[in-house]
Symmetry: C2
Subunit: 245 residues, 2 copies
Amino acid sequence: MTPDDSLTGSEKEGLYKAIFSRRDVRSHFVGREIPDDVLLRILNAAHHAPSVGFSQPWNFVLIKDRTIRQKVKESFVRERDRSIAMLDGNEQRQKQYTSLKLEGIMESAINVCVTYDPTRFGPFVLGRTSIEETGVYSVACAIQNLWLAARAEGVGVGWVSILANEDLGKILAIPEHVRPVAYLCLGYVSGFAEKPDLERAGWLPRMGLADVVCYEQWGVHQSEPWSALRAAIGRMGEGKREDNM
Amino acid sequence: MTPDDSLTGSEKEGLYKAIFSRRDVRSHFVGREIPDDVLLRILNAAHHAPSVGFSQPWNFVLIKDRTIRQKVKESFVRERDRSIAMLDGNEQRQKQYTSLKLEGIMESAINVCVTYDPTRFGPFVLGRTSIEETGVYSVACAIQNLWLAARAEGVGVGWVSILANEDLGKILAIPEHVRPVAYLCLGYVSGFAEKPDLERAGWLPRMGLADVVCYEQWGVHQSEPWSALRAAIGRMGEGKREDNM
């Protein structure tokens, strides 16, 4: 056991800086390659995520090959067009969607497909017997570790979710029982935007923290034993502090 | 845009320290309350996770009430007994399972149920039109942010996955369309273990990074353009460095 230790001031600052300045990056990639030691630290951070029953059910497929990437890009184009069609009847939203840059598959230094293997150390996985989905949640936690470590190293990450998993399965030879969870584009960038792209573009606003915190039961936003915390959250909202963090 | 910046040395160190020393804590909780400013920072970190289409589909239900916790604990006991019964015929594994402490529902300072609301800003959520599950993946990323911020603040987090979601739904008045994703126990602890409980107990070993990284396609562990990275990962494995991080 290590003693009851929180991190030092500047160490804590580092974690919060990574969390608040992390961005979903789709443009501003520069050509520079990611050195092996940097990539290794990023992958090792991902591999040290929590996992249900210590099952470590993730794989990281690293992709440089341009033919493979081109095929993934084609899947993106098909799915994007399908998505835009869903907005038929809402011309303004369609126009806005079309104007957004939503992926950097070809421009980034590498692509990483993160997958979930439910058979890892199975079939009995401790802690997964009641809620099956905890397996794939573990993989999402690994992705967040990867994203934060990349940010700390100055490497941008963009998650491309406008893709067909069936296409990814074929292109990357993923076995039937394994599920693609994320397709990520990694590379150095010329800078990290101050706010998320979709917030800046006015697609959606950031919610206040007060709107997502409930007390004792779902949807309850007032509770006597929590009044001091609730007031503190309210003060933060007034100062719009969460928008700048 | 902020310039192309990685974090400073000690800031980076802070992030990696949080990642590598984060633990799933089920015991060693001490009685001390979590001050409001600390809890606020932890929740705000969670709220700044990435989310598909900037949909921010999470809620955080904070629970102190002991009657509510007791009901959740009862759900845990039922599900644990059901899980142990699944190991019938494997006496050694059953004995090992029974010896493990798997939750700190009553001993922790507070419980937090994190939920996923697929209707948030919907029905059209940008980027969720091809892969529906990206919504719930966003919530898992928020949980990882919460976990790392808690670690930085010296607060332990234990994820209780041996629970029935139907029970949680009833106990916490969660609407039908909202999905419980995680039930977490938070509190100051007397210390963070050097290795995950299940690794220390010999339940499962930590995999080598080399085993989870593939090149260009799933399951491919050799590839000429990646030979330098592969060698670097191999060297790390030999030094067992990942076990100590």
